[in-house]
């Protein structure tokens, strides 16, 4: 099948790629742009391990076509830290032992960051429902929820 030329922005870098019309944004990120932080856990938009933002909107990159990235601003887990400086969520996830195997962690961090940008003071219920699209099979979510709530509190205090 004839490939499509796409020009887009990923983590503020201008990138170009050719992709098959059937390739998902997740395929392109991983296999063409070497950004393997987003994971494919299901390929059907049920697990959230491939979460990224497109023009600031949280999406499952397995449900977006690569060709749809044209002219958009994509942000992935690789763009969360600024150089050596981790985002407060990243610090807190390590400190709270909020990951065991870590496969869901990139997607959860992208989703949690997106939540805190929209709602800096979420209730526990709001955090749980916002993250309901991100499956974690290891932790039972307890430490993840605590890490997000505590990060939010720290960020409110700092701002």
């Amino acid at each position: 099948m004839k490939k499509i030329h796409v020009t887009t922005t990923v983590n503020n870098d201008n990138v170009e790629f050719l992709c098959d019309p059937r390739e998902t944004l997740l395929d392109v990120l991983r296999d063409r742009l070497n950004l393997t932080g987003a994971k494919e856990g299901c390929g059907t938009g049920d697990c959230g391990a491939c979460s990224v933002t497109v023009d600031g909107r949280l999406v499952c990159s397995c449900l977006v076509l690569g060709a749809e990235a044209e002219g958009k601003k994509i942000a992935t887990v690789e763009g969360i830290a600024k150089g050596e400086e981790l985002h407060p969520l990243q610090h807190k996830f390590i400190e709270y032992a909020a990951l065991q195997c870590g496969i869901c962690t990139p997607g959860i961090l992208v989703a949690a960051k997106s939540l805190l940008e929209k709602n800096p003071d979420p209730t526990e219920t709001e955090v749980r429902y916002w993250l309901a699209g991100n499956l974690c099979r290891c932790t039972g979510y307890d430490k993840i929820i605590r890490a997000v709530m505590d990060t939010a509190a720290d960020m409110r205090e700092a701002s």
């Binding site: 099948m1 098959d20 059937r22 390739e23 395929d27 991983r30 296999d31 950004l35 393997t36 932080g37 987003a38 994971k39 494919e40 856990g41 299901c42 390929g43 059907t44 049920d46 697990c47 391990a49 992935t76 887990v77 690789e78 969360i80 830290a81 981790l86 969520l89 990243q90 996830f93 390590i94 400190e95 709270y96 032992a97 990951l99 065991q100 195997c101 870590g102 496969i103 869901c104 962690t105 990139p106 219920t125 955090v127 749980r128 429902y129 993250l131 309901a132 699209g133 991100n134 499956l135 974690c136 099979r137 290891c138 932790t139 039972g140 979510y141 307890d142 430490k143 993840i144 929820i145």
Partner: protein, 747 residues
Amino acid sequence: MALDDQKPSGFKFVGTSPDRPDGLDKVTGRARFGADAYAPGMLHGAVVRSPHAHARIVRIDTSKAEALEGVKAVVTRADFVDGLQGEFGFVLENVMAGEKALYDGHAVAAVAASSQLIARDAVKLVEVEYEVLPHVTDVDAAMAENAPVLNDSYADASVPAGHHPNVVRYHDSGHGDVDAGFAEADLVIEDSFKTEATHQGYIEPHACLASLGGDGKGELWCTTQGHWIAQKTCAALVGIDTSQLRVTASEIGGGFGGKTTVFIEPVALALSRKANRPVKIVMTRSEVFRATGPTSSTSMDIKIGMKKDGTITAAQGIFRLQGGAFPGAPMEFSAMCAFAPYSLTNVHQVGYDVISNRPKQAAYRAPGAPMASFAVESVIDELCSQLDLDPIDVRLKNASREGTKASYGPKFERIGLVETLEAAKAHPHYSAPLEPGQGRGISCGFWFNHGGETSVSLALSEDGTCQISVGTPDIGGSRASMALMAAEELGIPYENIRVTIADTATLGYNDVSHGSRVTYASGLATIKAAKDAVGKLCKRAAAKWGIPEDAVYWEDGCAKPSGANAGNFDPMPLAKITKSMGRSGGPISGHFEATPEGAGVSFGTHIVDAEVDPETGKTAVVRYTVIQDAGKAIHPSYVEGQFQGGAAQGIGWALNEEYIYGEDGRLQNSIFLDYRVPVASDLPMIDTVIVEVPNPGHPYGVRGVGETGIVPPLAAIANAVSAAAGVRLRHLPMSPPRILRALKDKG
């Protein structure tokens, strides 16, 4: 090991919860999991799978697939070793079907192509002619007289005469006289239970990158709980020497027992050999559900007798487990774990391993135990309820203790069941008032824990830091625990130690990360490897001081003379010794290898409050507390994480998760939308209490903690539902339709 060999207290590092060494990689997306490897010239593989539950493979025509541009190799069973027997034979038959496809999703061929899209197109071009055969997927139906026969040669000598050929193994154990025991009881309850199959549900699908040449030398990168078992099995299936295949374990995105065997790895190796290029295969989620290890589904009959004062007089259980198309359902573990929490004079348990047209079961966290515990603990709860007795008091009255003859035979050493029950009774959760419509349930649970082959090496660097090679993939933060134990022995900071999961070329055989064994066995080996290095450090110091070796001891990271008679020398720190080690005798390393036998069994008690919506039948878990004996918690945060994760998986098993097969024998819910694992909004915070009753078999008293936590939730929730809604559910999961039916039947 005697208790007085153990380090009693005064830990400096052990028992703290520092940041994990792989934390940065895991929060930045840098960690490399199974699907994150790429190789020059790499091809993509895809697998052709049977759409039929049971069918004879008449013909496979690969010519159209081979003709597709970009396709570089196609393999079928003919590309694997012929005539394998025993477990390797079963694994090969599961990895690539021979004469018959035995379940929906069974692999029958595979292709490698220059892109994943081409590989998937090529899969559709492989023409397979099937002769469809009658199938069976239910455990009771598979044992019935006229059930379709999957294979009439799988039954072993343990099976008594007169059973259907689908009954392939049989277990019978116990002691005392159960009939006499039942005669002594004031109340006897006998009930039947069923549980549906669940999947481990790790978020990372199976993935591998294989390279194998015609010279019989290969490299394999894969997500696995044990790369030595992968090495041994793959080598056998593709017909090369074990040592010629080097296997590297990727970061692993969850396993829970499901990644203790191989599926796509031998297929990728066979494709690679044929194409003479590296081949990567990544399963889709649907392939994971259809073709990798779910649990057994079960059918169980339980009978327990009790006196009015709560004394259990006799207990009997029959456990029928369907384990898919091959022998191996863990029915003996169901039988052996079922009554383990209780000190019983009369106990009898029987197990049946039954094959059916489903994928080969794989281990899942305490394999076999949660289902048995569900049935037994439900009956105990019903007895307590009818005799108006407190369920914790009854369990305390009958609890197994040190010296109890276990229901499965041996005498228990020091165990912590009573301590978990006492902690449960004292916990504020147990006495907290309930809201209207809520009910409280409790349950105990047991798991053996495991030792297994273990080999660890440790090397000191000139700058006084330490690198450790372990062979057990880190499935929950174990690198942090290893570093803590080594820091304790060496007396150097946790941060000065780096722990690596070594590849198969680096260490001798290491058993899989299963059986809750990693912190116990690799931990024990790490401690002993560190002691080995400490001995050498002391020797160097002794030589430097010109005093006998036995006049030097190790404390706080320094060699010290053992008293005034030994001489008056300043303590010599580790870094000072290693700085000159090249000139004082060479590199200093430590090593230990063994198959440790003292794993130390583990018990837990869970308390749960549940609320049932009478309109929808949906059950909400509103409060949950896990109390479990960890022996000694090395990294308490990760111990809590194991408790919480086990409880969450148990909640899913109890309430939602099940394999649903249609009349056609096809799996109907092979994606996460339809096979619903608990999401964040389904669960409350999960409170934990770490009980520490030291295991005599480990230098620091460690007991494995990974598995026991999934054993009690099934019954605890069923007991809470019974208390909340007045209905006793004997069939898991307690999904809304089953609850509604039970409520309707109650009237």
